[in-house]
Symmetry: C2
Subunit: 712 residues, 2 copies
């Protein structure tokens, strides 16, 4: 059962569909924000009751001003606050008294202007929540809902109704999208300016919009995300119902975090956002135009079932551009069915090309366009259609637009690019009016289509079944408990391997020796060759002071190495407490890989895979995925590296079993999900042998985070 979210109901009822709206700070002076907001509500055509609140009373645009909302006798649903900052708290308070469950604070001067503002903002948010109400803003443009003709914002004019809802953390982006939509004759559904997100944030509104019938696609502009975990959960569920297109700005600021592990160092910056968006099916727009372009396509056209694209054009050049773009995007220029081609050949002029791009020639009239469009819609080898028109002497763009718009069957997406400017503009206007998305260039139409194809791939992805491996969780808890007690964050290699062994990783046979006799004993038991490594809580970089010796082939070599190590350590780290020497069997040669995890501050555990050596260190050829991970996703991670060929036996390398590595990633996923105190984890190298053998943890490093002490 889906748990009913109380916030959701407040948003749907009181923010989206209030019966009574009070504007506290409704001003009689044109040019003031308090005037603009009230005027917008009046001019927008709101059918419910409007209550202007102004201490001087009197009439405002035919409505009688209430001097103090405390004296108001009816019940307010939505209170819109536009008074000066120092009066906001009182205005909110009186709105709550009047029964408002929804508060929009448009006024600025809070968190964005310093500590004092932040404190006041928190007070106001707490006040709202404590009274069972919710707060939007402060410092926002307001809210618009075309469905009920509500324009509770200072953005000019009422938008036309349409399927695009907007959530934005920037007020200017709200007004820009509004202006863009108006300029392109596009309709919008809801427009939500998030402001400072003191209470309600993107997650709340995403949830509300998921169930909003008017909304066909959600367009989001975000610079930060309040709760990464929740964001993934919410968007994953929203994306299953409708597309969510987001531009995340501020990517260049983020910089890279200092991190001890490979995984941590490579995982910083924008990578976590990419991984989160991918997991959740969020369509990412990298530019402002892409944000608008993609949203328009989703709002107007059905989702394609595949990536085979038919291109219909009245000129060669634009057709080539579109074909280049389709291939560069990794989609396919459809191979038209033979019967379709034959029938087109019969109906089109001899000079026309019935290959794909289908060139209907410069003198194509609307009927010829429609005839080819019909054929492409019919043809089951075509998943999507791009229609191009270059201005030609004999062509009326407007007539072609009307004709093709009327021929749309809605069984596959059709996107258009009427190229040029003045002459094609009437055609572009017609396309917009008929819900046929039009783009100024073939490349942009193709990019929008690619976003749709990617969304479809996400929709039809295999069910996400995360395997739970039988593990010895209790054993890991005991080790963790020990580190918690000594308040140490750096887990020793020996313990890290113990932890991994408990999660069913193969670890080289080995044990701690406190003297040479024991060491020889262990080595004989494990089998030569062996490695020895100093074990001391006081020594972090073992190799640097001669605390690691590899490839010892027999008792003599072991004895020499042991004595030498003791001598050197005593000299170089005289104060270190030595627990002994760890003796372990050398791992057979194989393909060196790295698997690891770094906990992202926003989205949690980020898994990494890469081939070892130069592939990671020089080429940075790694793939990331958020935990928990499925077997399928883990395999896709491997395929996502450029060096994937190495797993398949490139360069005389023995072929390895990708499933063995995938299973390792899944078990790390389980471990770091079970133990959130693990901040970073590296298995480097994770040595993978030929098919049939088990990969080995040759070295491992686990670091605990601040959370370690409390969460366990």
């Amino acid at each position: 059962m889906w748990k009913i979210d109380r916030r959701n109901i407040v948003i749907t009822e009181s923010f989206f569909n209030p019966q009574t709206i009070a504007v506290v700070g409704a001003s009689k002076t044109p040019g003031k924000v308090g005037h603009a907001v009230f005027a917008n509500l009046v001019q927008g055509g709101f059918k419910g009751r409007l209550v202007p609140v102004n201490p001087s009373g009197g009439d405002l645009m035919g409505f009688e001003c209430v001097k103090d909302l405390g004296d108001f006798e009816g019940t307010v649903d939505l209170g819109v606050i536009v008074v000066p900052t120092h009066l906001v708290k009182e205005a909110v308070s009186s709105s709550l008294k009047a029964g408002a469950k929804a508060i929009v604070v448009i006024t600025a001067g809070f968190k964005e202007s310093g500590a004092e503002g932040a404190a006041l903002e928190k007070e106001i948010a707490d006040l709202c929540v404590s009274r069972g109400a919710r707060l939007m803003g402060p410092n926002c443009v307001g809210i618009i809902n075309t469905e009920h003709l509500i324009n509770a914002s200072f953005a000019t004019g009422m938008m036309a109704q349409g399927g695009i809802s907007v959530i934005s953390q920037s007020g200017a982006i709200c007004t820009t999208v509004l202006d863009w939509a108006e300029g392109r004759h596009l309709g919008l559904a809801k427009l939500i300016s998030l402001g400072n997100k003191a209470d309600l944030d993107e997650n709340d509104f995403l949830e509300a919009l998921a169930d909003d019938e008017q909304t066909k696609v959600i367009l989001g502009y975000l610079t930060s995300i309040k709760s990464g975990d929740k964001f993934i959960r919410v968007t994953e569920s929203v994306s299953a119902k409708k597309p969510v297109v987001i531009l995340r700005a501020g990517t260049s600021e983020s910089g890279s975090r200092a991190a001890a592990s490979h995984t941590g160092a490579l995982a910083g910056g924008d990578i976590s956002y990419r991984a989160a968006f991918k997991r959740a099916g969020v369509i990412r727009a990298d530019t402002f135009e892409a944000l608008l372009d993609y949203s328009k396509a989703f709002a107007m056209q059905p989702i394609p079932q595949g990536d085979r694209v038919a291109i219909i054009t009245n000129a060669g050049g634009p057709g080539i551009m579109a074909a280049d773009a389709v291939e560069n995007a990794g989609m396919h220029v459809a191979v038209i069915n033979k019967s379709t081609a034959a029938s087109l050949k019969a109906k089109l002029p001899a000079a026309a090309s019935v290959g794909n791009p289908i060139d209907v020639l410069g003198d194509a009239d609307p009927d010829r366009y429609v005839m080819v469009l019909d054929a492409a819609q019919e043809d089951d080898s075509v998943d999507a259609i791009i229609i191009l028109l270059a201005p030609q002497a004999m062509t009326s763009p407007a007539e072609v637009a009307r004709a093709i718009a009327q021929a749309l069957r809605g069984n596959k997406p059709v996107l258009a690019s009427f190229m040029g400017g003045k002459e094609v503009m009437p055609g572009r206007d017609e396309l917009a009016a008929f819900n046929l998305p039009d783009y100024p260039s073939p490349e942009r139409a193709v990019a929008a289509l690619k976003a749709m194809v990617d969304y479809n791939s996400w929709l039809v992805r295999p069910p996400r079944i995360v395997t739970r491996f039988p593990v010895n969780r209790h054993r890991v808890e005991r080790i963790m408990g020990r580190y918690r007690r000594i308040r140490s964050k750096q887990i020793s290699e020996v313990d890290a391997k113990e932890i991994l062994r408990a999660y069913d990783f193969a670890v080289p046979a080995g044990r701690l020796a406190t003297n040479l006799e024991q060491a020889i004993d262990i080595a004989e038991h494990a089998g030569y060759p062996v490695a020895i490594k100093i074990v001391s809580p006081d020594i972090v970089h073992k190799s640097d002071i001669g605390g690691v010796k590899l490839g010892l082939s027999n008792e003599d070599q072991l004895a020499d190495a042991f004595d030498l190590m003791m001598l050197r350590i005593k000299r170089k780290a005289p104060d270190a407490g030595i627990k002994g020497v760890y003796v372990e069997k050398m791992v057979d040669r194989g393909l060196e890989t790295i698997i690891g995890m770094s906990r992202d501050p926003h989205f949690g555990p980020m898994l990494m895979f890469g081939l070892g050596g130069v592939f990671v260190e020089v080429m940075k050829d790694v793939a990331f995925h958020l935990a928990p991970i499925t077997a399928d996703e883990a395999l896709k991670m491997l395929e996502g590296t450029k060096s994937y060929d190495m797993l398949r036996g490139a360069r005389g390398q023995k072929k390895v079993d990708p499933l063995a590595i995938a299973s390792g990633l899944q078990r790390i996923s389980q471990l770091v999900t079970d133990f959130p105190q693990i901040e970073e984890l590296d298995i480097n190298p994770f040595i993978v042998g030929p098919i049939g053998t088990e990969p080995m943890v040759a070295d491992a490093r686990i670091t605990l985070g601040e959370a370690g002490k409390e969460d366990d």
Copy 2:
């Protein structure tokens, strides 16, 4: 001295500035191309003499038709042919008789429709050239020159005058650019529809436009290039005078060529075009919008002297987008001078941000924009300026546009993005009118600026001085002569190394042995360890049949290997003629690199560099450059690989001397320039040791091309 090109004069005089224009096929029937062309010439306002040629005579728009141009008494400069295909030759002939030096054939039905058409096209071109005239087309839209109000095309309407000249291989792109320019109130200079390029091609018109004062920037759309060598020579010289922006379409069709060498296999497709454009300073547009966006910036604004960008915005969101885009493009968000910041701080409202982006706030009036623009133009830490405007209640985009346009000093480029649609449109129109390039999104403004920054980098590049090394060219000629005589294209490893030795490469000591005693002798002379390789013109893949044996440490090993090789070869390739066994000293270990060359069918010798092993084979991490190459360019090639860190001592690798590799590339460059019959060349591995040692050619492969027999 620059050689005066006869074509150039014909273009400048007779195509761009004819005194008398005859239209053969001028039709009285509206809707026909022959009518449209003549009408365009009349309506365009051409001041010279117009001669309509129509067999039925009579009046056409007030001009008396000449029935047969053969009877015309004056002299025609430009003949425009719009008669049916089968009458074209006669029409051209009569135009030539009337004195025309310039012929434009608009009529289609030639090369593009088959062999017959191609033959006719060639006849007509030959006819023109034989009479000292030049031919443009056939199968084109025509030519437009706003300078002299000539519209000799069937594209509707006369363009406004401006600085952008257009050369296009697609007629539809011509009309699209025209329509775009009109829609954005932009002026054009010349518009040239290349058509089938039977005679005049892009190179001819590029040369002519280079000296055309009206032309500030050349916008080109090309799908193919007629003479790659010449294209580089011409564009390099044109680019020094004015920017050339080209969209090359059809990149996805090209596919990869089958090639024997690494270099050849990796160098196919679009890489040669990228290398050619880079060499010649051509600004490459990857999309149609980029083509228009970049051209507009170049036509309107000065070239920046650096990449430090100031961003002026009236809203946070767009500012962040622009900053992201600047950093993603590899440019720098300028650090404003302290004095500038202090003075802005004093003049701007407290809430404004004087960091960069400089946020002038949502209520910014024109004066505030101008004040900040003035400061940014003044500040010597700023190379270029991006001005952003999001629609705001208090803002008049048109007034801001006028104010900033008037404040431009022209000392650094200023690009604008007025975001939105309907409300900002008046502002965008003003910007266009004032020659201030405006883009619908911050990202596109930044992309255009980046194109300008790159062009500037090319302009200020160090002088290209190609070093000529003292080499033994004669020795190579002798070896080449031998292969020419036996008509063999595959040069043996031994000879390839000889050739490289002649070009001053270090090659392992070695000689041919015809029996074991000789082999032992050579090995002792060269020093163990040695390698032995079978030498036979009949055996290409030596290793496959046991014809290569490496790392022989002493006489015994050598003797065993020699006898075994003879035994095996006799068994596996009984008919192969064996010349002996090549004995050479093993190369000391070092960093394995690959340097090579593959001759591109368009642009000639393409040099390649990559690190050996997985870097090339798995990661395809290679860099290309056209020969001849300078030392500086060779070093840049090395830096262009992701694995460059390996040269600088990553992963415990000894640091190597990049100059040693660069010198190898330069010497290959010289070799393949001296010997155009060399089709492919691979030095793989080219083993580079620590600084101070000389890189060694461990293996080499040279293949001759078809040209080999004639050119030598």
